[in-house]
């Protein structure tokens, strides 16, 4: 057992924190207000290597471990959770399936641009009738000669519109259920591939969430990811790893909200003393710290297992559900500590509270995480 | 040994820097305490007329080193000339103003003489064992170190505004010694191509008695005019916090704080400055601090002598009017 982060991890945290505080911090409130996607920040983040932390160096990635990735998303989200999820969705969802299941040609063509951040990636699984239950997938793919023809639509797609490549799932044989699903790589700009509704959200408002629409989209057969019928498995494995990203985002949100509350409680004077001198506040702060520390250990544990190529499904689900619930509890408590000010947009506490909620929903709701965890418990 | 205390007189185009007069004034007190002579050393071109002026501030002797190569300050030529004079006369101490020139010259001189140097000192006391003991701020004023030098000359650069300037007495006369500069060719490698002095009617930031400083609360570069108007009525320099400089509203040379200039004016007026620790480090030794900030919780109020919670865009122009009235 060793709970020490390496010198590199500490240096990465320092760097990402510096970047987040100086570059992302000042405009975070305004981007939230205007629902403005942080495209410039994405480019700057990519220059620093944040787009391809875990991807192999031969494809332009950093070749670092998953703990480095968790730290990256955590630190971005500590300041700007919208930027955190942009990076996480790009790396975990849009790029990682190609890294894990792509052919050398697909990696050369797509991963090499995704890992450097030259391109942005997105992932399309969810549909109006297929949320937590991916087997309801209605988007279809039909093989015709050297092509597949895709029809259907995907909703709630993070990085939609801005991403250059999309890994999507489509049903090829409904009679086979999940085993009829295949995964494909689709490039933005392919004829018939358009963007529908842009979601107006409660939180992470600066992140882009779009509908993807496919009308007779012809893609070369080389863009099939994995094999026909493997799509559901690819999606599930992708989500297992992706949960580490969202758990890290939730951890960052909790940390950011907690630091706000801590700072405020030391400055705000009521009844002749600072809030932090009241035991009621001290208990609140202690509870926040307990939960964050527990969440951090779970998140890094899951990241460690991912880096060691050990099974991550259960650990990632545990980390995600706990970190997401921690983010919500801590952010809500932070608003409470800030009182009336916490409810205003003058302080970022309310933004963290709004941003926290989604972490209990996307990439598998907390209920789904519990199903995943239970299935592992009962399998053993 | 009656080798005494030297004061390096910094002059530009025949005009003596205020800090040099501060050092002459304090040097007189220290020399009397030590029972040793006070010597002013002036380097430059056509500077002989300055001897009377430094004498009026209490110098017993004036060493004048004139040379064409000393017309404008260069590190090499000044070091060369001052080093040779110091070798010849072996003073016990040399006090230099902590100005751009002082900061450049003193370390060169100290290294050439193989002695220590106390930089940016804010206190000089006589010390029985080590001639002087110097108090100097470290961690940008968040702490102080008391420093002694193990050999002579004990050299220090002294922060401007540390000591008051005494009233000159024109009847005081000094012995004037004229030295020729022997400058090593190796010290003439640097060539000054250009000197650009930005004409300003306001005092230099580090020497100003009053500073009016604006921070994040200024909201934009166009608003500095209201600070400038106040500054001009009370003869102040204009300063800025790092937030304002980093936002690009005002040039870096106006920045007060840990990564900017360290100042200790008699009066420091902070408008729209929250009082980050880095800023306090650069102005905490000001004698009187005024804070104007709309945030009652701003840290600057914890150390301001006078505070106004309010909108600087209202308060500052009103204050300017008040001072105009008081004339």
């Amino acid at each position: 057992m060793n709970f020490e982060l390496t010198e590199e991890h500490n240096m990465m945290r320092e760097m990402v924190r510096d970047f987040a505080e100086t570059e992302a911090g000042p405009g975070a409130e305004e981007r939230d207000e205007k629902e403005e996607f942080p495209l410039d920040l994405w480019k700057k983040a990519a220059e620093l290597g944040l787009a391809g932390v875990t991807f192999p160096e031969e494809y332009g990635g950093v070749g670092a471990d998953y703990i480095s990735y968790a730290i990256t998303v955590e630190e971005l989200s500590r300041v700007d959770p919208s930027l955190g999820v942009t990076v996480s969705a790009h790396a975990s969802l849009g790029s990682n399936p190609i890294n894990l299941f792509g052919t050398p040609e697909q990696k050369e063509k797509y991963l090499s641009k995704l890992a450097t951040g030259e391109h942005m990636g997105a992932f399309g699984l969810t549909e109006s009738m297929a949320g937590s239950d991916a087997s309801g997938t209605r988007t279809t793919a039909v093989r015709e000669g050297d092509e597949y023809i895709i029809n259907g639509s995907k909703i709630f797609i993070t990085n939609g519109y801005y991403a250059d490549t999309y890994v999507i799932t489509a049903q090829m044989d409904k009679s086979k259920g999940n085993k009829g699903i295949a995964a494909f790589i689709i490039e933005k700009g392919t004829p018939g591939f358009t963007f529908g509704k842009k979601e107006k959200k409660m939180g992470i408002r600066a992140s882009a969430t779009y509908e993807l629409v496919f009308e007779d989209v012809h893609i070369p057969k080389e863009n099939l990811l994995g094999e026909e019928g493997q799509g559901f498995k690819i999606a599930m494995v992708t989500l297992d790893y992706g949960r580490i990203g969202i758990a890290s985002q939730a951890l960052g949100i909790a940390q950011g909200a907690y630091e706000q509350a801590l700072k405020y409680s030391k400055e705000r004077v009521q009844f002749g003393q600072t809030l932090s001198q009241f035991q009621v506040t001290q208990f609140k702060l202690a509870d926040m710290e307990i939960q964050i520390e527990a969440a951090r250990n779970l998140v890094y544990k899951a990241a460690y297992l991912a880096g060691e190529h050990q099974p991550v499904s259960k650990a990632a689900a545990i980390a995600k559900v706990f970190a997401a619930e921690t983010a919500n509890k801590v952010a809500t408590e932070a608003v409470q500590i800030l009182g009336g000010y916490g409810y205003t947009r003058d302080y970022p506490a309310e933004r963290f509270m709004r941003d926290a909620k989604i972490t209990e929903i996307y990439e598998g709701t907390s209920e789904i995480q519990r199903i995943v965890i239970a299935s592992h418990i009962l399998k053993d | 040994m009656a080798n005494g205390i030297w004061i390096f007189i910094e002059q530009t185009k025949g005009e003596i820097r205020k800090v040099s007069l501060e050092l002459l004034s304090q040097g007189r007190i220290l020399a009397d305490e030590k029972g040793e002579p006070l010597t002013a050393v002036i380097l430059g071109k056509d500077i002989a007329p300055l001897a009377d002026q430094v004498a009026s501030y209490g110098a017993d002797k004036v060493i004048v080193i004139e040379d064409d190569k000393l017309t404008d300050y260069t590190t090499g030529a000044y070091t060369s000339a001052l080093n040779k004079a110091a070798q010849k006369y072996e003073p016990n101490a040399i006090l230099i103003g902590n100005t751009a020139i002082g900061k450049d010259l003193a370390p060169r001189l100290a290294q050439r003489l193989g002695v220590g140097l106390a930089s940016d000192v804010t206190g000089v006391t006589a010390d029985a064992d080590n001639y002087f003991s110097f108090k100097r701020p470290i961690y940008a004023g968040k702490a102080f170190a008391e420093v002694v030098e193990t050999q002579t000359p004990a050299i220090a650069t002294v922060r401007p505004n540390t000591f008051p300037v005494a009233a000159p007495d024109a009847s005081k006369k000094a012995e004037v010694i004229t030295e020729t500069a022997e400058i090593d060719p190796a010290d003439l490698r640097a060539i000054v191509k250009d000197i650009a002095i930005v004409a300003s009617t306001r005092p230099d930031l580090i020497e100003a008695n009053i500073i009016v400083s604006g921070g994040r609360g200024m909201k934009g570069p166009e608003n500095y005019v209201i600070l400038e108007a106040l500054a001009d009525v009370i003869g102040a320099a204009v300063g800025a916090s790092r937030a304002a400089v980093d936002a690009g509203w005002i040039e870096q040379k106006f920045q007060v704080g840990q990564t900017g200039k360290t100042v200790s004016p008699t009066l420091y007026i902070a408008a729209g400055i929250s009082g980050a620790i880095q800023h306090l480090a650069g102005m905490g030794s000001s004698k009187v601090i005024v804070a104007i900030n709309k945030d009652p919780e701003a840290n600057i109020f914890t150390l301001a002598d006078y505070g106004i919670v309010g909108d600087l865009f209202e308060i500052v122009p009103l204050l300017t009017e008040e001072f105009k009235k008081l004339g």
């Binding site: - | 370390p107 060169r108 193990t150 990564t259 900017g260 620790i277 150390l303 002598d305 006078y306 106004i308």
Partner: protein, 258 residues
């Protein structure tokens, strides 16, 4: 072009300063960073390296083992290698000793340009780089805002009181970096990963053919103290016009500063 950058690890500028029970500066739990002004020097060195193919940037530092983390960060930014003089026999290092050690370390390696921060934010003495130039017999330009290299000469613009000065010096020479010279980059992820593979040579005083006894400090600290904390003064209330009038009056009549 061989570019040498001197580096010092210092307290973070946000650090609060406290004294230990024995009266020295308490570094317990204080976040340590690269001296902010040295970051400008590193950035300038990296820019020169990028503009001059075949250049190398070597970091040189004197300090304890803790200095290694500052050096690794600078290597992650893009410096090629580092030399750290670290010797347990070395105790109180004043500016004279620091400059002498750096000079001996730098004399062992090739150099065309030496860049330093104009001041270290801890002791704030702004001496070592200028002393280093003197110890190596080199010209120096302090507090530069701009640097241009042409062949074997450099033109630097430096801050002077009330303006700026442009100076030409032959190389090799020492330059000290002022804020405004450039905008230091962050080390990227790849740089961080590459940093651990770069050479960090740790030298003792014996490696420099000297010893603690042979290095004579010119000054020593006899005591440390903390400033007397200022306390909050008067808050002037009322309508803006009253506040302004009251403040003007207090500054004239009570504080007597105007």
């Amino acid at each position: 072009m061989n570019i040498v950058v001197t580096l010092k690890q210092t307290f973070d500028t946000e650090a609060k300063i406290a004294l230990t029970s024995s009266g020295s500066i308490d570094d317990n739990g204080v976040k340590q960073v690269i001296n902010p002004y040295d970051e400008y020097a590193i950035e300038e060195a990296l820019k020169l390296k990028e503009a001059n193919e075949g250049s190398e940037v070597t970091l040189v530092s004197v300090g304890g083992a803790g200095t290694e983390s500052a050096i690794r960060t600078a290597l992650a930014m893009g410096a090629d290698q580092a030399v750290l003089v670290s010797d347990p026999t070395l105790e109180a290092v004043d500016e004279l000793v620091a400059a002498d050690i750096l000079a001996k370390a730098i004399a062992q390696i090739p150099y065309d340009i030496i860049l330093s921060g104009r001041i270290a934010v801890d002791d704030g003495s702004a001496q070592v780089a200028v002393r280093l130039a003197e110890a190596l017999g080199l010209p120096s330009v302090s507090s530069i805002q701009k640097l241009e290299i042409t062949g074997q000469s450099a033109v630097a613009t430096r801050d002077i009181d009330g303006g700026s000065e442009t100076i030409e010096v032959p190389l090799p020479a020492v330059f000290t970096a002022q804020k405004g010279l450039n905008e230091p980059r962050l080390p990227g992820m790849k740089g961080i990963m590459a940093a651990k593979k770069k050479e960090l040579k740790v030298l003792t005083l014996a490696d420099l053919e000297t010893s603690a006894a042979a290095l004579n400090a010119g000054s020593k600290v006899t005591s440390y103290s903390l400033p007397t904390p200022r306390s909050a003064g008067k808050i002037i209330s009322g309508e803006p016009a009253q506040q302004a009038a009251e403040l003007a009056k207090l500054l004239r009549e009570e504080a007597k500063v105007i």
